[in-house]
């Protein structure tokens, strides 16, 4: 019938190796994150795993803009920060409780929506470069505000607060017969586990929501706008309205990720949310993973985060192992980790010009 050729072709598309590789990598990362507290029980690994979860949601939402719709924005950390600061200020002022997370988070999301609509309607009609500048200006203003309104935001030092009781390390999720915290596979079932799974499941839900968005009719319209804005307008799509809509959706997801981040870290400051260093991390993660593929966000965030957290350790081990060989231990000196991160990045871009996921899928398509 009508769809037979389409279906068979789609089936063929599904079973090509590049796609399988990408799905396998993403599934492996997903499983590793799902069981992270059991696989990697130390505190630092938990921190890395939680950051990967939250940044997958954050980076994927940025990819909705830059990869799918072709909107270049530098205000994504601003929306991330609004969610985080909303939650942090409420938790600080109202004390640890779900009401504070809910109220503060809602306020942060509401602020993100209002700002996104304002920026979108005012400037999405103009050229891409001008829009990028407007977002850059807005993000800078937000950073200045965060550091100046120090009574509220804690200024450059940021805010330290407690998360809801459920997430406190003293909370016993499961108790054994002796009334002590039960350990499953040697991992204690305390509030830290609850906090991790709160972060993991919320990020997963956001990611699946975005997968639905890009597969919906709206997703195709966004790609059409990226491909040929004038033609999209000519067949009946109001480009400005669609652009503003996706800008708002991405802002909301970034703010929600900010709530998770603030709740997990129990600290919110400019360096963990608003800084341009994070904005650049997000950009690099999108590029490494592959623009315009949701799966790319998963891969990009994981590669980049692992490198940022573990390259130094790896180099230290390498330096010790090669201690007897000339030159090498100096090259592998842990203080030079940024140099190697740069080399790694250049190699990735060279061998995967469309990002890891993008290049693998494209190769398979040929």
């Amino acid at each position: 019938m009508t769809d037979t050729s389409a279906t068979s072709h789609r089936a063929a598309k599904r079973f090509n190796t590049g796609r399988i590789a990408v799905y396998a990598i993403v599934a492996a990362i997903g499983l590793a994150l799902m069981f992270a507290p059991f696989l990697f029980p130390d505190v630092r690994s938990q921190q890395v795993a939680a950051r990967i979860c939250i940044f997958i949601a954050l980076v994927a939402s940025y990819d909705l803009l830059i990869g799918y719709t072709g909107i270049v924005s530098f205000a994504h950390t601003m929306f991330f920060g609004l969610g985080a600061y909303g939650t942090a200020i409420a938790l600080k002022q109202m004390g640890p409780g779900w009401d504070a997370v809910f109220l503060g988070g809602s306020a942060g999301v509401a602020a993100a929506i209002i700002l996104a609509i304002a920026i979108g309607l005012l400037s999405l009609r103009v050229k891409a470069i001008f829009f990028a500048m407007v977002t850059l200006a807005a993000a800078s203003v937000m950073m200045v505000l965060a550091s100046q309104l120090s009574d509220f935001t804690g200024g450059e030092d940021g805010l330290v607060y407690s998360a809801p009781k459920l997430f406190s390390p003293a909370t016993k999720l499961m108790t054994g017969d002796d009334g002590k915290v039960l350990a499953v596979f040697d991992v204690r079932m305390n509030g830290k586990i609850a906090a991790y799974y709160f972060v993991f499941l919320s990020s997963l839900a956001l990611f699946f929501a975005m997968l639905r968005i890009v597969a919906s009719p709206l997703g195709t319209v966004l790609e059409a706008i990226r491909e040929n804005e004038l033609r999209a307008e000519a067949i009946g799509y109001r480009v400005v309205a669609y652009r503003t809509a996706i800008f708002v959706i991405a802002a909301v997801i970034a703010a929600l990720a900010g709530i998770l981040w603030a709740t997990w870290l129990k600290y919110t400051g400019p360096d963990t949310t608003l800084s341009f260093a994070i904005m650049i991390d997000i950009l690099l993660m999108v590029v490494i993973g592959g623009m315009g593929t949701m799966h790319g966000a998963v891969i990009g965030v994981t590669v980049m985060s692992l490198a940022q957290f573990y390259l130094k350790d790896l180099m230290e081990a390498g330096a010790i192992a090669t201690a007897d060989i000339p030159v090498l231990p100096h090259l592998l000196e842990p203080d030079r980790w940024l140099l190697w991160l740069g080399v790694l990045f250049i190699l990735l871009v060279y061998f995967f010009p469309a990002g890891i996921a993008g290049t693998l899928m494209k190769k398979a398509g040929e």
């Binding site: 009508t2 769809d3 050729s5 389409a6 072709h9 789609r10 598309k13 639905r212 968005i213 919906s216 009719p217 709206l218 195709t220 319209v221 790609e223 059409a224 491909e227 040929n228 004038l230 033609r231 999209a232 307008e233 000519a234 067949i235 009946g236 799509y237 109001r238 480009v239 669609y242 809509a245 959706i249």
Partner: protein, 256 residues
């Protein structure tokens, strides 16, 4: 009854040059008007004004009696003005099917749905496939548009126009660059649309055999001005038309 499209004193100037000058013209349902004129006569600019890509310096455009001069291209597309472009103007990385489905989806107004049901999807796909079969593109439905040969891209351009299901069809040299095997497919399609007397068709075309086969009426643009407008026999016989458009004198039987 109002004409489906009417222009009154339509003028657009680029700097001092009037690319379209004072064109007043009305088009009615059931009528196929071929717009002819030498290169640079303002044919495509006239189309751009009607479909909204350009705003006129002066004059008004009415659709079924309603002034649409200030409306956006997307609003005009939704109101039933469909346009195929002279220079291929597609979504290159999207598949042929996705290209066409986008137009179907715009027509049905399902663009904004974020979480749509799968049922709505297959319905849109079916409809898009129908248009692809009509343009003989169903075999390449899943290739990216950029991978098609030029002739097929031109056909896809027409498929998008069909998928918009407009009342007013505007074809800008639809068969330009097509092989002798491909062009008849498009001409038959235009012939089929013509059978439906509720549709208005505007066609920019250079090939005289096509003009003669399809035209109910010919409008001649020259230096942006409408210099002749009427039934094909009369217009083709006018000395001014033969001079400016055909350039060299033509044989008696052709002018007849």
């Amino acid at each position: 009854m109002h004409p489906s499209i009417e222009t009154r004193n339509l003028t657009i100037r680029f700097g001092g040059h009037a690319a379209v000058a004072n064109v007043s013209c009305a088009f009615r349902p059931g009528e196929l008007t071929v717009i002819v004129g030498p290169n640079g006569a303002g044919k495509t600019t006239f189309f751009n004004l009607v479909s909204g890509q350009l705003r006129p310096s002066e004059g008004t455009i009415l659709k079924a009696g309603r002034d649409i001069t200030a409306t956006s291209p997307s609003a005009r597309a939704k109101s039933g003005i469909g346009r195929a472009f002279q220079l291929t103007n597609l979504f290159p990385k999207l598949s042929v099917l996705e290209n066409t489905r986008l137009a179907v989806q715009a027509r049905r107004g399902v663009g904004p749905r974020i979480f749509s049901r799968a049922a709505a999807w297959s319905d849109l796909g079916e409809r898009a496939m129908e248009h692809l079969r009509a343009t003989r593109l169903d075999k390449v439905a899943l290739l990216p548009a950029a991978a098609l040969p030029h002739g097929d891209q031109r056909k896809l351009e027409v498929a998008l126009l069909l998928a918009m299901e407009p009342d007013i069809f505007m074809f800008d040299e639809p068969t330009a660059g097509m092989s002798v095997h491909e062009a008849p497919v498009i001409l038959e399609l235009i012939e089929t649309i013509k059978q439906d007397k509720s549709k208005t068709i505007l066609l920019v075309e250079h090939k005289m055999d096509v003009v003669r086969a399809l035209a109910d009426r010919i409008a001649v643009l020259h230096n942006g001005a409408l210099v002749a407008d009427g039934n094909p026999e009369t217009v083709m016989a006018m000395p001014i038309v033969r001079e400016i458009y055909l350039g060299t004198p033509v044989g008696g039987e052709e002018a007849a």
